[in-house]
Each structure stands twice: as structure tokens, then as C-alpha cells.
């Protein structure tokens, strides 16, 4: 929470001026009862006459007008500070999310991050805006009224001194108790939302199992829990206004009584009693406003905490020098006994992998579902950091590399073929914003994607968000081209030819081999045919290397590889 305030710093002036002008406005409001008292005492009782009353009424209008000007100024500064703060915070949040480690993104989840940077932040904006406008105003009016009461009559004003602490205790008490209760209401609501969403996404399964009635019952129970919680908070916060009302009116009763005695003694006038009464009434109005404000602020604070929590998530670790290893410098990529255990996982996802890859070599990675193939290649760009052993690129530990220059060397084609809204060219330039036409053409040709671009109407054809207007195979080839545009030293194809037919897949592999800059290529696949021509194949099982070698060697020596191969080829041979 406190950390968030640093984003308010450039708006220090506005955040001081805003409440200040609000206070000015309140001060003018505080003068009003004095003017009314003057009308009564001097104008009516004192016999100053009609002219005086008119003058005083004009002063009331003038006070109102000056109050208006102050208030508008205050609104302006408050809005400027709140919007400016939110803008900066949003930018910082976006920037921070872009540095979160993969592991953090995995465990936090994208959808929460999106909610926090959008709706949570909007709540904070309106909360801050309200706070700047009103939070200081109400206590100021309360204390101001007390001080003004002292100027009218010190002894009567003691009732203010008695009432205010009681009011503060009641206000703070209700707030302190209801904030955690509100938070619990929110979490009950979240649970209800989760339940509804789940029911929607799983509708076929739930209906197939005939679970409708049970679902309705479960939902109703959860709903009842929410309602009970809401009523509990409601009963409690319903106390606030009546209690305040009673306290203030008790003070008014005492005030009138004291006032009567003082007037009787000739110490103060009737107008003064009216003024004191008016001040007490002003306090009541302010406190009711304050109660509503507190609810908004409570919500905003809860949201601010959620945002803070994101900002406190650890960024990707900064590069740190690691002892250089004995691995030979001519290796593009070396895994040295590398292991990775995800946070909170029961076992290593990748364990004790040792492997060298030289420039121009193609490495096949194969293995079953969840055997650690993707995890293994994700260690190279340091998306995840090895928890044991090390991974070297050009002989240097990836942890010592500057992250961006490391990734600059790597072209990654992810499993899920994602393109972004924009033109085809925009998408390709993601790989290298300064790529020449010739580079783009070569990349497209290698990725077997030239004809797609032609068919879609050239490089300036539009791609919709997520690449919805392209087929799976088309997207896949374009994502390969995107990776090639940067002429990467290391190319990683993570199961990224699954949507390609065998002929295209083969043509792609041939084209990759003839690339003039001889990248080291990692091909991750479940299909033996995609990797059987690789220089070396690593077979993973449960995160461990079950075998490393060429296709022929592995067929000979690796039982797991043989099984995978047979499951895909033998039967089809038999069938033919």
C-alpha cells in the first residue's frame, strides 16, 4: 500500500492543493451559521433593520459562490492527481508484469493479472479521487465546527469536545470491524462466481453425469453463505447512522440546555444558541457523508492491496556472474547436469540432463506427455531457471547473460501458434524490427509460408487478434517465419509442426538445414518422423534422459524410443 504512494509523488502539488481548496470551501461553509446568527441578533433583535438583513443575505450568496469556485478548483486538482496517479501506476504495473518470471505467471494466472490492471485499478482511481476530495473535508468540518463553537461560547462548546471523541470511536469501530467483513463478503462472491463459471464450462460433463440437481443445491448453499455474510455486515453497518444520530442529538439537547442557562445569565444571545445548534447539525450531515465515503474507500483499499501484491511479485532474476564452466566454447548450447523442480511440485520436472549442441546441429527432443520436453527447452532462454546444474549458451551460463541479449539470439516457436492483431508484416517484424525485405522473404520461404502470405494478399494483410482469421497450419508456419526473421543462432521448435502435413514438415526441415547462418535447431515433438533425421535425439521419460543418440543408435539401445517409434510406425507398416 505505502509503496503505491510513490506514484502520487509527481502530483504532490495537486494532492495538497485539492484537499486544501476543499478545506477552504468548508471554511466558508462554517461561516454561514455566524452570518445567520448576525441576522438574528443584529438584524432582527438588534434592530439594524432591513438593509442589514439584505446585506447579510448577499454575503451568504457570496460565500456560496466563493465556495463554488474553491470546490471546482479542488475537484480539478483531485481529478488530475487521481487520474495521473492511476495512469502512472497502470504503466508501472504493466511494465512490472512484463518482467514477471514464467513461474510467477504460471502460478498467479493471467486472468487475475488482467483484472488487477483493469477493474481493480479503476476502483482505486475513484477511491483516490473521493479521498482527495472528501476525506479531509469531513474531519475538518467536524473540528472546524467545534472551533467555531468555541468562538461563539467556550462553555457550550465543551459539549462538542465531549461528543466528538465518542463519534470517532463509533466511526472507527464500525470501520475496523466492517472492513474485514466486507473482504469476506468479497471472497464469498468470488467463490460463487467461480462456481457459476465452472458450471458453464463443464456443462456437457455435468449434464452427462446428471449432476444438475446437485449443482443447484451446491450453488444454493454457497449462495446462502454469501447472503448470511452480507446480512451480518449489513446488521452491523446499519448501526452506524442511528448511533451517530443519537449521539449528535444528545449533544444538541445538552447544548440547548446549557445555552438556555447561559442566555438566562446574560452571557450569550439567542442568535448564538442558533449558531451552536447549526454547527452541531453540520457535523451530523458531514458524518453521514463520511460513512458513505468510508465504504468506497474500503473497497478501494482492498483493490489497492491486490495491486500492491502484484507489484511485490518477484521479477525475473537479474543476471549474476556464475563461475565459468569447463564446457567447450564451441558449443552453442550445453546442458550440464541440469535439473528443474517447479515451485511446490512433488518431483523434478527435468533431472540431470547433460547435452551439447554445436552450431548447425539439429537436436530432437522426444518423450511422452509431461515428460519434460518443453521444460527442457525453456531452460535455454532462461524462462525458467535451472534449480540444479547449469545451462550454457556460447559457453556462458545463461544466468550470467543479459536477459535481452540472450533472448535476442534465440528464435522460439511456441506450441500454441499465437499471432497478434496487426498486419502480417507487423507480426513478422516482432522477430527483428529492422529486418530487410530479403530477410523476411527468406524467412517466409524457409517456413513454407510464402504462399500463405500471397494468398492472404501480401505482407500488409491484416491479422486479427490471436490470428483468428488464419487456420492452425497457417498460423504455425507464420510463427516459424517470425522466429526466423531474427536469424537466430538457436532455433527452438516446440512441437510446432503438429499442424503441418508430412510433406510440408519435411520441406521445412530441409529448408532449415540450408539456412546460411547455420542455427542450432531444437525440435520438440511427439512424432518420431519429425525428429528421426536430427543429428542427435534426446529421449525424455519422467524428466530424465532415457537415451541420447541418433535415430539408429536409439533404436538399437533405447527401449523407450523403440516403443515410441513402434507405436507410430510399426502398425502403420503392418497396415500398409
Amino acid at each position: 500500500m505505502k509503496k503505491l504512494l510513490t506514484y502520487l509523488k509527481p502530483y504532490r502539488r495537486e494532492s495538497v492543493l485539492g484537499p486544501l481548496f476543499k478545506l477552504l470551501e468548508a471554511s466558508f461553509e462554517l461561516i454561514v451559521p455566524l452570518v445567520v446568527a448576525a441576522i438574528i441578533d443584529t438584524g432582527i433583535r438588534g434592530g439594524a433593520g432591513t438593509g442589514y438583513v439584505i446585506r447579510m443575505a448577499l454575503i451568504l450568496v457570496l460565500l456560496g459562490f466563493v465556495g463554488l469556485v474553491c470546490s471546482v478548483t479542488a475537484q480539478f486538482f483531485a481529478a488530475k492527481a487521481a487520474v495521473g496517479f492511476t495512469t502512472r501506476l497502470r504503466s508501472a504495473l504493466f511494465s512490472h508484469i512484463q518482467t514477471l518470471s514464467y513461474q510467477t505467471i504460471d502460478s498467479v494466472g493471467t486472468s487475475t493479472l488482467i483484472t488487477r490492471i483493469t477493474s481493480d485499478l479503476n476502483q482505486v482511481q475513484s477511491g483516490l479521487n473521493l479521498t482527495l476530495r472528501l476525506l479531509l473535508r469531513s474531519p475538518f468540518v467536524v473540528f472546524g465546527a467545534m472551533i467555531m463553537a468555541f468562538t461563539v461560547d467556550a462553555q457550550s462548546a465543551l459539549w462538542f469536545v465531549a461528543a466528538i471523541p465518542v463519534l470517532s470511536v463509533v466511526g472507527c469501530g464500525v470501520m475496523l470491524i466492517s472492513i474485514p467483513l466486507y473482504r469476506r463478503v468479497q471472497s464469498h462472491l468470488d467463490a460463487l462466481l467461480g462456481r457459476s463459471r465452472e458450471n458453464m464450462t463443464g456443462v456437457r460433463v455435468l449434464r452427462a453425469f446428471g449432476k444438475e440437481e446437485e449443482e443447484v443445491k451446491g450453488f444454493a448453499e454457497q449462495n446462502d453463505r454469501l447472503t448470511a455474510m452480507q446480512k451480518k455486515v449489513g446488521r452491523f453497518s446499519a448501526l452506524m447512522n442511528p448511533v451517530t444520530y443519537v449521539i449528535i442529538n444528545l449533544a444538541i439537547i445538552a447544548l440547548i440546555h446549557t445555552g438556555a442557562l447561559r442566555v438566562e445569565a446574560g452571557i450569550i444571545t439567542q442568535g448564538a444558541v442558533v449558531a451552536l445548534y447549526n454547527y452541531m447539525s453540520q457535523i451530523l450531515v458531514e458524518l453521514i457523508k463520511m460513512a458513505n465515503l468510508i465504504i468506497s474507500i474500503t473497497k478501494a483499499v482492498a483493490c489497492a492491496n491486490r495491486i500492491s501484491a502484484v507489484l511485490e511479485l518477484p521479477s525475473e532474476p537479474a543476471p549474476a556472474d556464475q563461475p565459468s564452466s569447463s564446457a567447450s566454447k564451441d558449443c552453442r548450447v550445453s546442458f550440464v547436469n541440469a535439473s528443474l523442480r517447479y515451485e511446490g511440485a512433488g518431483a523434478e520436472s527435468v533431472e540431470g540432463i547433460t547435452l551439447d549442441a554445436r552450431p548447425g546441429e539439429t537436436i530432437g527432443v522426444i518423450g511422452g506427455t509431461g515428460s519434460g520436453k518443453t521444460t527442457l527447452v525453456n531452460l535455454i532462454p532462461r524462462f525458467y531457471e535451472a534449480t540444479g546444474g547449469s545451462v550454457l549458451v556460447n559457453g556462458k551460463d545463461v544466468r550470467s547473460w543479459d536477459t535481452s541479449s540472450l533472448r535476442q539470439k534465440i528464435g522460439l516457436v511456441p506450441q500454441k501458434a499465437v499471432l497478434f492483431s496487426g498486419t502480417v508484416k507487423d507480426n513478422l517484424l516482432w522477430g527483428n524490427s529492422e529486418a530487410a525485405e530479403a530477410d523476411i522473404a527468406l524467412a517466409l520461404e524457409t517456413a513454407q509460408a510464402s504462399e500463405i502470405v500471397e494468398k492472404k494478399g501480401g505482407l500488409s494483410a491484416m491479422v486479427e487478434a490471436g490470428g483468428r482469421n488464419l487456420s492452425g497450419g497457417q498460423r504455425q508456419r507464420l510463427t516459424i517465419a517470425r522466429a526466423l526473421v531474427r536469424k537466430p543462432e538457436i532455433l527452438i521448435l516446440d512441437d510446432s509442426s503438429s499442424a503441418l502435413d508430412f510433406a510440408t514438415d519435411a520441406a521445412l526441415r530441409r529448408a532449415l538445414r540450408s539456412l546460411p547462418w547455420h542455427p542450432t535447431v531444437f525440435i520438440v515433438s511427439q512424432r518420431t518422423s519429425s525428429i528421426m533425421h536430427a543429428d542427435r535425439i534426446i529421449v525424455l521419460e519422467d524428466g530424465k534422459a532415457a537415451g541420447i543418440g541418433t535415430h539408429a543408435q536409439l533404436l538399437e539401445s533405447c527401449a523407450v524410443y523403440r516403443e515410441i517409434y513402434n507405436s507410430q510406425f510399426r502398425k502403420e507398416d503392418a497396415r500398409a
Binding site: V32, V35, I39, I44, T50, V53, M56, A57, V61, L63, G64, G67, V72, Q75, F76, A78, A82, V83, T87, T110, I114, N129, L192, G194, R197, M200, T201, G202, V203, R204, V205, R207, A208, F209, F219, T227, R235, A238, P242, Y245, V246, N249, I252, I253, I256, H257, A260, V263, Q270, V274, V285, G346, G368, T369, V418, F420, A465, F502, S567, R575
Partner: protein, 587 residues
Amino acid sequence: MKKITLAPGTVKKVLQVLRPYKITALLSILLSAVYVALSLYVPVLIGRAIDLILGPGNVDLKAIVQLLVTVGIVVASGAVTQWLINTINNRIVYHVIRDVRNEAFAHLQVLPLSYLDAHPAGDIVSRMIADVDQFADGLLLGFTQLFTGVVTILGTLVFMLSIRASIAAIVVLLTPLSFVVARFIATRTHDMFVLQSKTRGEQTAFIDEMLGNQKVVRAFGHEKENQERFDEINGRLQKASLQAIFFSSLTNPCTRFVNNVVYAAVALAGGLICLATAGAAVPFTVGALSALLSYANQYTKPFNEISGVITELQNALVCAGRVFELLAVPARVPDKEDAVVLQNVEGCVEAHDVSFSYTPGQKLIEHMNLSAEHGQHIAIVGPTGCGKTTLINLLMRFYDVNAGAVTVDGHDIRLCTRKSLRGSYGMVLQDTWLRRGTIRENITMGKPDATEQQIIEAAKAAHAHSFIQRLPNGYDTVIGEDGGLLSQGQKQLLCIARVMLCLPPMLILDEATSSIDTRTEIKIQNAFTSMMQGRTTFIVAHRLSTIREADLILVMKDGRIVEQGNHEQLLNANGFYATLYNSQFAS
């Protein structure tokens, strides 16, 4: 003001959901009237007391104390009434939205899948949660402020008129000015709000795209470009927001200024009348003036609040309308009263001259005939979008046929209870869905009373036991929304275990192993084979190896079954299947 169009009948429906609470609602209204009367009475009493404090030696202390005791009683009763009102209102509102949510959720369970398939889950959920919440806020505000506001205005008016009609007239004539001001500002700022929400939408779309694919962004080191683009939109949003927020926030100070003018006018008129009637038989007293001033404040305040409440209420009604729209979607045809409860199903499934399409006029399945006998394995093959999933939708009666009939053991499935029909099928879909809960809860979904032994056996048969054991809490590991950290393949194994546990007489396997690697698939295949033994099974698969052993292959194209037969027959026929088979094999 923003133009808001309301679905007709929304207000009627709101009253309808309020109906069970009409007695409490009436009570609340009654209490509000009492409360307003009590709270308005206080200034009168105080005014009287002040009139008894004229000057030294001219103070009737005894009468004052009496008046003050009355004030105390009135205030105490007022506070109790107010607390009761608050509690009752909370109760009504929270119960109403609970009812609406329960009704909506129960309605979802009987909505036809055609509706659910056509509407994004996010939208439906937001209607049930966010919109209902907005509705509750509006309703609560309406109850607490709108009603007391109106009563206060009327009550104040009556009290003011009883004190001095001429001054009351001033207040009544001037106050609507604040409405005019508020409306003027609202129309001027409308465009600013539109620009703000448009820019905000643009930014959200950008955030969604870039955070949703953060890993790609990172892999290509595109963070800087993203940040620049984000900051550009952010800058525009800042400008738009500042304008919208600032100009709309002028409403409050401006209406308050109008109120201050009204206040001054009352003070002026009151003061002048005091002076004018000083010697008269019925003088206008200072106490009366102070009461009037206090009323002037009370009278204008609800006006400000009401203009805010009305906007809020309109918004609430729009939100309520969205929920009611959902409730108004016609439910599926209910089970017939004398519907057959399928028991001990043999598994003879037939389709007689079935026609079906999702959108009227767009032909899909036409005159389809099909006959599967007890224990037969029927494979459904064909290119993407050929209607394989549609066939499953019809078998499970997720959708009803337009013409013809599907029968199970000779019963038209439309004459059977849905529960018994669906309970006769075990289904594994390509789209792996798991619920939030423990692994155990997920596996026992179809058979909640399964023993530990049975659960473990099912998991072992599905080759899920070993990975489950490696999870932090084994079978009691809680998996998050939609399977959380499990891989696609692991989720599919759990879906298979789920069906292995209850083993109904018929099976539907829609790409049941699409996310599982070939080696594990072969291992599971044995379990599948024994599971399919003696069970009528429909299999959708891309892998031809799975299809070859089927008793009957349905070759689908453009929604029609173009060929039927077993593998050899179809190959020999040298038709579409042969082409399909050869192209897949050749690739």
C-alpha cells in the same frame, strides 16, 4: 443524461421478484414515513425551545427541559426506526438477489445447450454475478434513499407550509434549478464518457492480447515496444478520464451552490418577515426561522441525492434487465411425465431418418439412418467440421433432432428421462474439463460412493495413479479452476479415470486420447479395450489405428454419413474413406 433503453417488462419483473417480500417492503415504507416524521419533528421542537430563550431573565427553563425531554424521546424512537429500516432493507435486498441468483442458476441447468453454446460463459457469469450485484446496489439505494428522500421532501414541504407558506414557495420554486444544472452538465459530459470508455476498451483489448500471450512477448523481447504502445494508449486514456471525471464532478458543487442560494433566500425572506411582523399579533419568530433554515437544508439535500439515485437506479434496472433476459430464455422441453427411466440398457442405438441443423434453413444432418447393436464399436471419421460432434450432441440429447428419431433399446430418447439416458453413457471428450476440488472428487463424480480401492483401480487403469501419487497431497490434492497446473494430457487421464470408475453400458469417446502421447495411449488402449468389451461404443478419432478395429465405421462429410461399413469394406469400396485413409497414411 445518458440514454438508457430498458427491456419492456423489467420493472414488472423487478416487482415480481419483490413480491415474496411485499409485507416487509410495506413495513419498510411505513417505517420510513414514521422516521421522516420523527426526524422532521425535531427541528420544530428545537425551534420552540429556542423561542423560549429570549434573553437574560426571559428564559422559561422548565418548559425548555420539558421540550428537550420530548426531543430525546423522539430522537431515540427515530434512531430505532432507522436501524429497523436499514436492517429490513438489507434483508429484503440480500434475499431478493439470493433468489434471483438461485433462479438464474437453476435456469441455467435447464437451458438448452444451443443457448449455452452460442453465448460466451463469461457473459452469462457476469450477468449472474456482476449485474446482480449492481442491481442490489441500486435496489438498496432506491429503498434507503429514494423513498426516504421523497418522503422527506413531502414532509418538509408540509412542515414548511405549516410554518410559512410564502417562504415554502420560495424553496419550492428555486430548488428545481439544481435539476436543470445537473441535467445540463450530464448532457455536456456524455461524449467525454463515451470517449473514456472507448479508450478504456482499446486498452483492455491490448492488455488482454499481450498479457494473455506474455510468454511469446518475452520470447521475442517485445516488452519495450509493448510498453511504448501501452503508454501511448494510457496517455490518451489519462486525458479522456481527466476530462470526463472533472467535468462530471462539477455537478455536486454547482447544485450545492444552488442550495446555498436557496438557503440565503430563506434567510433573507425569513429575516424580513420577522422584522415586518415584529409587532403583529402572530409574529414570525426566530425559532420558526431557525426551523425553516434547517428545513431548507433538508429539503434540498434529497434533491441532490435523488438525481444521483435515479442514475444509479436506471443503471440497476439495465443490469436487472440483463439477468431477466437470461431468465426469459426458454428452457429445454421438460421430460415427459410418463418418461421411461432407462434401466439395464442393452445398448441398441438406432437413428431413423434423422434430420438436424443448428440454424433453421441451414441444412446439416439430413435423413440419417444408423443402427448400432449391443456391444458394437462404431467409429466416426471425417474431416474437421463434418458433424462428428453434432452426432454426439444428438446421441446424448444435448440437442433434439428436428425430424426422425434416435432410439435406445427401442425407446425414442425423447420419451426417456434425460438423466437415465445420459447416465447410460460414459463420455470422454477432447475438451478435458475438471472441477475445482480434489482429484478424488473429480474421479468419483459419476459415483460418489466409490470405495478407495475402486478409485485407485480406476486411476491405475487410466494410467493416472502414478502421477497422482507424485502430486503434493496425492488423491487429496486440490486442483484449481479447470485443472490448474495439470498438463492437458494429465487432465485427459483423469477424465478417463472418471469414466472407468462408473462404467455405464454405453460409451462415447470423442478424441479421448488426443492429448496423450502415443506410447501412453497404447498402454491405455488395453484398459480401453477391456472397458469397451460388451459396451456399445461411439468413438471419434483422428488416428486411424483406433478406427481400424471398429465394427462399423461411419464416414461423415458435411453433416451427412456418406459411407458406412467396416475397414475392409470401405477400403474396397474405394470411396471417400479410401481417399481419406490414403491421404492420412501417405502424409
